[in-house]
Symmetry: C2
Subunit: 155 residues, 2 copies
């Protein structure tokens, strides 16, 4: 099982970056539908989606929000991070088979509360901006390494 | 299979509300972990979570974001809504067994683009505020009724 080490407030530098890549599958969309309760056929029914302006099933907008939050929680700052807030601007639809890259950049640090602002950018495989946003977190004070397990789903 | 009807831009009134209730299970958290890729043990490993400030596994912050987006997509405005943006402020942790109620309120309407601003509030079973935020959407122009299916997961 993989191990992940966090980045403490003191270790983070303004301009520091992290990224993570994910190719979107229909199963990802089904998982997000089940987790969120959003079973809109635009996301799940290819025949319905073909008749919309999008022409094919698209991922939930908040799916990209989930990808951003995963990079915050797993990579930068990583384990021990407290999530305070997030803004998201949905710019382009995401289709099955698209490969998204989440880019996070440390934009500001406020030592009083160990608060860190991160610019968030999600690009697709064509380099086009899918989502932009800003995250506010409290970065961890202490170094920590965690072991990652991926539990089976029962559903 | 249930049917859902949307609310067009013209039908929506400032102050109009929608709500949806959900009791959070460990399976919901596993689904969100699989969808987002955030397998932080704070969400998934009770023994690890017991040693944190939270004392027990908590849901991903963006899980509540997913619940908000589901009410937008399924109920108000509902099918045909275009999601433009979302802000989220995470106020309190959500634990397994908590019952969350998402409240949406139409706050503003701009006819030029059919753009609607909705205040978003997530409360727990004690009436405490878990998440606040604001959603920006383009409301549908046309009435539409959709049939909701909940596909099985293969994972």
């Amino acid at each position: 099982m993989p191990e992940l080490r966090n980045h403490t407030f003191d270790e983070l530098a303004i301009g520091q970056q992290a990224e993570s890549k994910r190719t979107v599958t229909m199963e990802d969309i089904r998982l997000f539908a089940a987790a969120s309760g959003d079973y809109n056929p635009l996301h799940l029914d290819p025949a319905y989606a073909a008749g919309t302006r999008f022409g094919a099933c698209i991922a939930h907008g908040m799916f990209s929000g989930g990808l951003i939050s995963a990079v915050l929680a797993m990579h930068m700052p990583g384990p021990g991070t407290i999530y305070l807030g997030q803004s998201l601007s949905f710019r382009l639809p995401v289709k099955v088979g698209d490969t998204l890259t989440v880019h996070l950049t440390v934009a500001n640090k406020q030592p009083r509360r160990r608060q860190v602002t991160l610019d968030c950018l999600v690009l697709n495989q064509d380099g086009k901006t899918v989502v932009t946003g800003t995250a506010e977190v409290i970065a961890p004070a202490e170094r920590e390494t965690i072991t990652i397990a991926t539990p089976a789903l029962t559903g």
